[in-house]
Symmetry: C2
């Protein structure tokens, strides 16, 4: 497998942490419900391929996301390997945190919204009410020495509100980070961002005391922009990137395309630019190919498709 | 149709010329042979959508590329609209130039290779022999006041030779430009380039007297890198980009995927970054959707897929 190697490209970090979201964000958006044993095997294989952080599942209400109703079972199958500080689990509220603690999780992620409309639609409450809901979650998680990530969704555009003001994103991010979260992930949930928006938001966050060192970016490839946007963030000094093995959750031909950035396409780009990740691309492609067979459709990752075509 | 608009992003050109290759590079790599009337209609619609340069077809030997055997017929259907200096046609040799001149063409493109192996396989001769073959083509074209573009393929990697030395690309480029060509298009024919390679090649060309103002870039999306690589070139001052309407010629799920950068994905990125193109994205998407119906498969462009899904 040939990844072209050059000297490290100017302006990029020496090393990037890939935060793998396929098992959670990917599978929750797939039509097919994958058995718990396959999910556990996926998470195991992602770890073996060198993914440094793997978000495992979500303790959301199973009625909302039946694809992940087996969260506790998946973690039980994995044992200690599935519950370290490098294996975060999404928790929507205090009930979710209870379940995560029962499973022995060492890290959690909460999921906020930059817009009122999406907060109402996704969380059933206003932004202020959702921050109030997250406050005891984060407080108790920190008391239990858990690592905590905060997602902010719709950072670059919203299907109902259109453009999203930078100040609005900063305000929500500031409120979540003030709870004590360790990391902030900026989500382009509908994939509409373009490269010019990225430095502006990062500068505004920095001015509000949220530096690049705690910021991750989470771009979707709905309009083919995810990798270009990610590189715009890397050139700004961001060094943590969310992506989904095999592009899980994002078939470009599906009506409900969410279009997660494929981890393979990201890793190809990073290794080619001389940025280290610790990831074994060949093992990762084999994992995504194995899972695609179980999902019954080809991976939307271009790297997986190209290497599979030989 | 919402393209997020921001102030023009720092470091990008104010305006980019999109050089549309779908009708030639795209259709010659499609399994389906499209009737001449549909090709003429495609070229007409691309012009009406504001594409400033549209490569129309190729006067290559029909035995090699049966998909474009009707080159003269397509140009006859178009009349003067298909033969301006903004409607180049590919010519492989003097016989091809004769046919282009008979059709009244005002612009041509020649297609060289940066590697000996691809020169032998694609042109049946060495690099030196191919330059010797192109010399009288360019000389006669310039004497007839035609605009001339030189493609160099395999600039960033070759399936047989692997890495391609920058000096090798510069040498071939220099020899073609010395013939008097007006523009040089750097082709990543197998899509393996990553962002770090781009500034290095542009610097080396500049040092050899080939400045950014005469350079175009032609990236393939085989590994999902085309847009990121294109933006690496734009930040370096390149202002002409090759792309293919609807991603023609590059179905990511096909064995023979060539993966042209989709013009729609490029235009979305450019307009979002405040770079003007003169292109009407809505009209372009409608054209690609219309053609996809005739090809019997969905467009691999993410923008076309997303907007078609509504």
């Amino acid at each position: 497998m040939r990844t072209p190697q050059v000297e490290q490209a100017a302006g990029l970090p020496e090393r990037v942490t890939v935060y793998e979201v396929g098992a959670r964000d990917g599978l929750q958006n797939e039509a097919t419900v994958v058995p718990a044993t396959v999910k556990a095997e996926l998470i195991r294989r992602l770890g073996a391929a060198g993914l440094p952080v793997v978000e495992t599942t979500s303790f959301v209400n199973p009625a909302w996301v039946p694809q992940l109703a087996d969260a506790a079972e998946v973690l039980a199958l994995l044992g200690p390997e599935g519950t370290g500080r490098d294996r975060p689990v999404l928790v929507p509220n205090v009930r979710g945190l209870d379940r995560a603690l029962e499973s022995g999780c060492g890290a959690i992620a909460i999921f906020g919204s930059a817009t009122e409309t999406f907060a109402q639609r996704n969380l059933g409450r206003s932004i202020a009410e959702s921050v109030a809901m997250f406050a005891p979650v984060v407080e108790r998680a920190l008391a239990a020495d858990l690592w905590v990530r905060a997602y902010v969704s719709m950072c670059f555009g919203d299907p109902w509100e259109g453009d999203v003001a930078v100040g609005q994103v900063v305000d929500v991010a500031r409120r979540l980070m003030d709870l004590g979260c360790h990391e902030l992930s900026l989500g382009d949930t509908i994939g509409v961002a373009t490269t010019g928006q990225v430095p502006a938001l990062l500068d505004a966050l920095d001015a509000a005391g949220i530096g690049r060192e705690v910021v991750a970016v989470h771009f979707h490839d709905t309009y083919g922009q995810a990798l270009a946007n990610t590189f715009a963030a890397l050139r700004e000094g961001v060094a943590t990137v969310d992506s989904s093995a095999g592009g899980l959750g994002g078939c470009p031909y599906a009506k409900s395309a969410t279009g997660n950035l494929a981890t393979e396409d990201l890793v190809w780009a990073l290794h080619g630019a001389g940025v280290s990740t610790g990831i074994d691309l060949e093992a990762l492609v084999a994992t995504s190919t194995w899972l695609a067979e179980r999902l019954g459709r080809p991976s939307p990752s271009r790297v997986v498709a190209a290497l599979a075509a030989g």
